[in-house]
């Protein structure tokens, strides 16, 4: 009996693998193989046209001592993640909570908040390029004369604002879905106990949303570490390197330079991947653990 059950299970597993095979094929070719190849390239000097030349850790060393990386890309990326992730998470949570209340016209608001998420980031970047130009609407409304995107002090914060505005919608949607999952009975009980709306938010909504918060923060961190398209369109890393991020530097080395430095771009990619990994692990400790202990 046991043997035949085992055989049956193996049979099922086989069927599962057969059905998965198209996806597995793509996964191995375009993900596993690509990552492996990039890992190999990160130890080489490779300009695309000549065969890769093994140089060991030399390219990693060059990245970590490169002025564009240390002085611009690394601090800019960390600043970007450090500001954009908390702001977009908190703002989207507040908006989601508001949208979950029975307020007038919330369907319209929901749609409005979500529109940026379904708009191409290139289009959004172009719109903000106009809004934040020296003679743009933002300066006119506030009576300023700041050249937002051509000023080393303001360029990165401007792009942060664009990204926060553009991503809030998706995150709000995730929070909204999670909010719908919270049993109404909990709110009712809290209301009977005399909790006000802030107490309800703090002691019921937030703890119940922990998995959603973890998801949103993780996706936010990964997205922010890899910020590229807005920068490519709006500032091309300038002025004076003030918006050069790690992902932009990778692109510059891999494709934009006249003499391609593919090995260095690959090495930088792995440095970026390791950074994302470390941050995600730390984050897990902070966000997921308390929930497990709480139960």
């Amino acid at each position: 009996m046991a043997a035949s059950a085992g055989r049956q299970r193996r049979g099922e597993a086989f069927t599962a693998y057969v059905m998965l095979s198209p996806w597995l094929f793509i996964f191995f070719v375009f993900i596993v193989f690509s990552i492996g190849w990039a890992f190999y390239l990160s130890f080489t000097n490779y300009n695309l046209f000549s065969a890769p030349k093994w140089v060991g850790l030399a390219e990693y060393q060059k990245v970590l001592t490169n002025e564009d990386f240390i002085k611009h890309a690394l601090p800019n990326t960390l600043k970007y993640v450090g500001i954009v992730v908390p702001v977009q998470t908190v703002l989207s949570l507040i908006i989601a909570f508001a949208m979950d209340q029975k307020i007038k016209g919330r369907r319209i608001f929901r749609t409005l908040f979500y529109i940026p998420s379904v708009t191409s980031s290139v289009v959004i970047s172009l719109i903000f390029l106009w809004l934040f130009s020296k003679v743009g609407i933002i300066n006119q409304i506030f009576g300023l004369k700041i050249d937002w995107l051509n000023n080393p002090t303001y360029a990165l914060p401007t792009i942060m604002m664009v990204n926060i505005w553009a991503t809030i919608g998706t995150m709000m949607l995730i929070f909204l879905a999670a909010l719908q999952d919270i049993p109404y009975a909990l709110y009712e009980a809290a209301a009977i106990d005399g909790a006000n709306i802030f107490q309800i938010f703090r002691y019921i909504t937030i703890p119940a949303l922990r998995p959603a918060i973890f998801f949103v923060v993780t996706m936010g961190v990964i997205g922010c570490f890899q910020v590229f398209d807005q920068i490519y369109v709006m500032t091309a890393g300038g002025p004076l390197g003030s918006t050069t991020t790690i992902a932009y530097l990778i692109y510059k080395w891999a494709f934009r330079d006249t003499t391609i430095r593919m090995g260095r771009a690959a090495a930088t990619s792995f440095i970026l991947a390791i950074m994302i990994l470390i941050v995600t692990v730390i984050q897990r400790k902070f966000i997921e653990r308390p929930e497990e202990q709480g139960r």
């Binding site: 020296k134 051509n150 000023n151 002025p239 390197g241 330079d257």
Partner: protein
């Protein structure tokens, strides 16, 4: 069940084979013009049977697609070619998006087209890596002489004594000036004989910062600033591109002259007036004079048809004339399986008749020297000024690390503009960083 499936498959295979060796003629869709009623011309297509020779070779051609009308122009030339050479099929594969990313990766994978566009700025790397085929033998065989083309352009695509590209067209910088603003300021319009002093004096009179009008556009752009370096007797790089000369007294003095326009508020960068490009600032009348290439002419005609402007060659500096040349060539891949056929295509696209067609279309300035005397340029003084600029021009190319040189040159000007850094220190910093990049 199984047998019927097998039969079905056999049938399918046989059918495919039959189709494959079937017809000897193919139908090609060819655009023909047909006049309808009195005024309207409508484009209709007609199926034309074309006799196809038994052996045909396929040649692939790639370039960036700058505009639908320019693509149509190339396609019409290729159609003419196909009529004259029925044994060669040219497959035109325009690349939309990032051309260099696409072409470099396809070269890496050895799947690049037989013929592709080569910008002079990118040329040194391709030539040094040996992925292009030399064209000297083909040129000699078909009697194509080097001096039929503008010499600077031919020399630009020469690497270690061999020609690797036939220049298809080029652009230089011209001094575009706004006629209305000149009339308002009571100034006489510029001529080819102007000097730096004339430029500065006119910029002073034309500027009206309170109304967002500036005399001259001085962007932190490595595609404009070097003109002043050349005119001051300097160079961006030394002859073999192994060192930069941006910290030479000539280059530093040129940078001072250039950045002084903005310091004195008689010049500005495009973002000062809320634009991303000075061409737009010129069209809107914010900049009275700009250095731009022939690409500005169709742009102004489309976007700012009411802007009255003229074009002359850039004013001479203390050490005479100077200009930048932007040029693109057709190159032949070293990997090409049909280099003879591909050469025929290149030769056809750059022959006198084709280049005349390109010139008359108004999209670009073709590279043949004889065209300077053409009626078209006589009737189009703006384009003629851009064409004349080639005489005093230096190709826009800084060697293998060109992008690093460009970046640092731009940053040197940005440091002066945005951080009020001293010009000399900023140029020295740029030179030092370029030297680091050259060693890297």
């Amino acid at each position: 069940m199984k047998r019927s499936l097998f039969a079905l498959l056999t049938l399918a295979v046989v059918a495919t084979l039959l189709v494959a060796c079937g017809p000897q003629t193919v139908t090609v869709t060819v655009p023909v013009e047909k006049t309808v009623e009195v005024v309207k011309t409508v484009e209709v297509t007609k199926e034309v049977p074309v006799e196809v020779p038994a052996e045909r070779v396929e040649v692939r051609l790639s370039g960036w697609a700058s505009s639908p009308s320019e693509t149509a122009l190339l396609e019409s030339l290729l159609y003419k070619f196909s009529v004259e050479n029925p044994d060669i099929v040219v497959k035109y594969e325009p690349i939309t998006g990032d051309f260099w990313q696409a072409i470099k990766t396809s070269v890496a994978a050895s799947t690049e087209p037989d013929i592709y566009y080569m910008d002079i700025f990118q040329f040194p790397f391709f030539a040094q890596q040996g992925v292009l085929a030399p064209l000297d033998d083909y040129m000699a065989k078909d009697g194509v002489k080097k001096d039929e083309f503008i010499p600077t352009l031919m020399d630009a695509f020469t690497y270690e004594g061999k020609i690797y590209g036939i220049p298809k067209d080029f652009n230089t910088l011209g001094l575009f000036y706004n006629k209305d603003l000149f009339a308002k300021a009571g100034l006489t319009e510029p001529t080819d004989d102007w000097t730096w002093n004339d430029l500065q004096a006119a910029a002073e009179k034309l500027s009206d910062p309170a109304n967002n009008v500036y005399g001259f556009g001085v962007p932190a752009d490595s595609g404009r600033f070097p003109v002043f370096v050349f005119q001051n007797g300097g160079q961006v790089m030394n002859a073999d591109f192994s060192d930069t000369l941006l910290d030479s007294p000539e280059a530093i003095a040129a940078a001072k002259f250039y950045t002084d326009f903005r310091a004195k508020k008689i010049g500005a960068i495009p973002s000062d007036v809320g634009e991303g490009w000075q061409g737009t600032a010129f069209g809107k009348g914010n900049f009275a004079m700009v250095y731009e290439g022939g690409w500005l002419i169709p742009y102004l005609a489309q976007q700012f048809p009411n802007t009255q402007y003229g074009v002359v060659t850039p004013p001479a500096g203390p050490q005479g004339e100077g200009n930048l040349i932007f040029t693109v060539a057709y190159v032949l891949s070293q990997n090409s399986k049909h280099p003879e056929a591909a050469w025929k295509v290149i030769n056809f696209l750059t022959n006198a008749a084709s280049q005349q067609t390109v010139l008359e279309s108004g999209f670009a300035l073709p590279s043949r020297a004889a065209l300077e005397q053409s009626d078209y340029l006589k009737n189009n003084p703006a384009s003629a000024a851009i064409f004349r600029g080639a005489r005093d021009g230096t190709p826009f190319m800084w060697g293998l690390k060109g992008s690093d040189v460009n970046d640092q040159m731009g940053k040197a000007l940005e440091r002066v503009y945005l951080e009020n850094q001293d010009v000399t220190a900023s140029m020295q910093e740029a030179a030092q960083k370029i030297r680091e990049a050259l060693k890297d």
